[in-house]
Amino acid sequence: MKQYETVIGLEVHVELATKTKIFCGCSTAFGGAPNTHTCPVCTGMPGSLPVLNRQVVEYALAVGLATNCAVHQYCKFDRKNYFYPDNPQNYQISQLYLPICHDGYVEIETSFGSKRVGIHEIHMEEDAGKLIHDEWEDCSLVDYNRSGVPLIEIVSEPDMRSAEEVIAYLEKLRLIIQYLGASDCKLQEGSMRADVNLSVREAGTQKLGTRTEMKNLNSFKAIARAIDGERARQIELLGEGKSVIQETRRWDDNKEYSYAMRSKEDAKDYRYFPDPDLTPVFIDDAWIARVRSAQPEFRTEKMARYRREYGIPEYDIEIITGSKHMADLFEAAVAICHQPKKVSNWLMVETLRLLKERELEPEDIRFSPEHLAGLIQMADAGEINSSVAKEVFAVMFEKDVDPLRYVEEHGLRSQNDEGELKALLQEIVSRNPQSVADYRNGKQKAIGFLVGQAMKATSGKADPGLVNRIFKELLS
């Protein structure tokens, strides 16, 4: 049995988090009614002209610098010509000849240690609109709201050898880009999309095999399954003495099988040429220096700092820094309440539990660091007890309520006024002579019954420790 090595390269499209589109002032907001975020430019009306959004260059440059790329300081946009109704001009403005960034790499960690994955290039381009096929009316409609949304395409070198490496690479990219604030990188929603180029070759050989390109991969799990499936398919073909055809295949994750979309024979000639409507972009040294100096602390540095500064468990550090949003939340809450362990606990236990229950990602957390810190401070001050705190947190998780106000409005504040409490407990003592007698006769447990009565009488708002102490004083 021959041994095969899998060779994988990725083309990753990332939707940038700009407020407006790449070549016009239309909103990039998701979910507007069809064709409401459009203008003559992004619908390809005659005579309209593109004007580059500077923030797109900033973001592309930031991602390039964070992935150790060289910069084409004189870069240009090219037209990629092809006819399709989701593409209103019938050409996509992209970059072929002088992409903004090139020749970079990222370090990935896998179970086999660390490894460098090369980045061939990063280029800027515009997204297409969306076709909606109306089967009842037997027609197709087009929504240009997404047309002109800025994308960067990150093209890797064929440096990956397994699904594990691919996932590690994607995770790494996702974190870098999220840390930069350049995109939220959600695979499910399509703000990060990966096409997998895969070939196999006999172990020990150098020559690359014929590759296929797989599309329609919208989760890390689907990517892993598609890689395993495509590897097996190619090895089987070669085992039968057949050859792999260079083609684009569409992965169907439900059927766990890919289907040929188009082969190289009908590959299009995109007739790329420099877009004469856009002037070249000059990126001077000062611009690069500015973007470089504005680069945030990335995950590795952040993890090291957490170890130094916060004294929380390694596992917590891993989880918290695994999401830029969670890390930001953590740091902001700690800055207010100065309780890193408690903040971390709320995130590790209750937050993760609720996220899992509702099938949400850390990026979906809605409560503010101020509110989390406030809750912790109230619990610390004994203003609420731990069961009330959990109850309030659950509401905060759903609606980001202000815990202080919520506690006041719902009368959840602990009853910790010693004078008031003493009167109440005295009454309980006088109503339960048997328990009092039992306690005085050495039955320590009997006090538990009295505490239970007190908690019931205060609807759980008394501090059990305080109640315990007062009972002991009353009965001594």
Partner: protein, 499 residues
């Protein structure tokens, strides 16, 4: 004096002084149109009602003292590749027969803000591809100076309308000579500004790196006033340049003493008609008499301009015209089974033969395997041509030569041999490749009574020098404002006398 004998700026002066009402000027112009348009066919679309509505508005603003510029109240014609909000814009193509833009071209917006009254959209070669206005889907335009002749192109409708008095001034676009050559054939002034001077926003692109919008006018002063009005930096056009020197009417009457004028020998070689050559040389002499210094020189590379131009312009056009696909607007074939058939039939039925020829040529030169040999090579030629001009402008303030090798050909003579038609652009296209400003000024008539134009080419941003020289030329040739234009008398009584 008849309203129609006034130039645009003279007319506006009298409107602003209260001597003439804006509606009277429209009455005069529409009078000419009624008499001549059925024969000349300068316009694809006329909007009389809208023009009178605008005129009333403009009159109120003039009376209120809000409009004080030199074009207030002037009836204008706009080439039909410039978008006009609410008025259909066809590019003289079937494929845009019913296209009504929701926005104005920036140049149109600026004209209207200055109080110009747009009366209609002028005929042109389909998508500005042609040199005769004969490739229009809507029929040919006739030259007012000889109705068996073409008006030139592609801005033939605009040039003919100005020459015939069917408007007082017009906008055209110039990708390879499309303003200057019809101006020359129709005996009017036409100017192609430095690339980037006038916003291309709303100009339906042919060759984006070469296209510029410019004026076609009765005289040089009008030309300067129109250019001053439409030239402005526009953030909507990335190729638009922020210039500080767009006050083109200032210093217009300065003399040309000491102005150094280069005359390229290569522009007077084989193929140039004798009468044209003589008229152009006479124009040069006029400037010399007025103090300019003439010198002959070799520009070189002239023969390479045409193939480079048709490669670059067609390549850009093949991509620019992809959006006309029947999906979003314009013509869609009536009969199709699926998407690709819809594309093919729509475009096969919607585009005329010259447009198809250039789309095919442009697609070919951009194809993988041919890109380097054709498109890239053409870009290199373009750079060399620019260099040759740079060298010339180290020695000369401007370059003087013919606009076209001949006067206007007869209708039907040109389309049979497209190569011959392309060769007719030899003196104009290098200017577009180099992004330079150039002006065409009437300088005589041939024996058949057809106008001849002389071309003045300047270095980038040197429009003022060109306009000054053109103004002196106009004066020196004894051409009074408005003179030399047909007065319409051959079409019967159309002139509206004013007090």
């Amino acid at each position: 004096m008849s309203i129609l004998q006034l130039s645009a700026t003279e007319l506006s002066d009298r409107i602003r002084s209260g001597e003439i009402k804006v509606t009277e000027t429209l009455d005069a112009v529409f009078g000419v149109i009624e008499a001549k348009e059925s024969l000349l066919h300068c316009y694809v679309t006329l909007d009389r009602e809208k023009a009178y509505q605008k005129a009333a508005l403009v009159q109120r603003r003039i009376d209120a003292g809000e409009l004080t510029g030199p074009l207030a109240g002037v009836p204008f014609a706009i080439k039909d590749n410039l978008c006009t909000q609410g008025t259909r814009t066809t590019c003289s193509s079937k494929i845009l027969e019913n296209f009504v833009p929701a926005y104005n071209a920036e140049a149109v917006t600026r004209l209207e803000a200055a109080g110009a009254v747009i009366i209609g959209k002028t005929n042109m070669d389909e998508f500005a591809m042609g040199s005769t206005t004969e490739t229009s889907y809507y029929g040919v335009t006739r030259n007012p100076h000889g109705t068996d002749h073409v008006p030139g192109g592609s801005s033939g409708g605009s040039a003919a309308a100005v020459a015939a008095g069917e408007c007082f001034a017009a906008l055209g676009s110039d990708t390879g000579g499309s303003i200057r050559q019809p101006a020359s054939f129709c005996g009017v002034v036409g100017m192609k500004p430095t690339y980037g001077t006038v916003s291309r926003y709303g100009l339906i692109a042919y060759g984006s790196s070469l296209d510029q919008i410019g004026p076609l006018t009765k005289n040089v002063r009008d030309c300067a006033a129109v250019l001053e009005t439409i030239a402005a930096h526009d953030p909507k056009d990335s190729t638009s340049v922020a210039r500080q020197d767009t006050d083109f009417t200032v210093g217009l009457d300065q003399d040309v003493r000491g102005l150094k004028i280069g005359i390229p020998r290569d522009y007077f070689g084989e193929g140039l008609d004798g009468e044209v050559a003589a008229a152009v040389r006479k124009a040069a002499d006029v400037l010399e008499v007025r103090g300019a210094v003439l010198e002959e020189f070799d520009l070189s590379l002239v023969d390479y301009a045409i193939p480079a131009y048709y490669t670059i312009a067609s390549a850009e056009a093949s991509s620019n015209l992809e959006r006309f696909d029947g999906v979003k607007y314009g013509y869609r074939t009536g009969n199709y089974e699926e998407l690709h058939q819809m594309y093919k039939k729509t475009r096969s039925e919607g585009f005329g033969p010259e447009v198809k020829r250039r789309i095919l040529l442009g697609s070919f030169v951009l194809s993988s395997g041919y890109y380097d040999a054709y498109y890239l090579k053409a870009l290199r030629v373009k750079a060399l041509i620019k260099k040759a001009f740079n060298q010339a402008f180290q020695r000369y303030d401007c370059i003087l030569g013919p606009v076209a090798p001949t006067t206007a050909p007869r209708l039907g003579e040109s389309l049979a041999d497209p190569i011959k038609m392309y060769l007719g652009d030899i003196y104009t296209i290098a200017v577009n490749l180099a992004g330079l400003p150039a002006i065409s000024v009437p300088c005589g008539m041939d024996a058949g009574g057809l106008p001849i134009g002389v071309q003045l080419i300047g270095d980038c941003y040197q429009e003022k020098k060109l306009l000054r020289a053109a103004r002196q030329l106009e004066a020196g040739l004894g051409r009074k404002d408005g003179q030399g234009l047909t007065d319409g008398s051959e079409f019967g009584e159309v002139c509206h006398e004013t007090v």
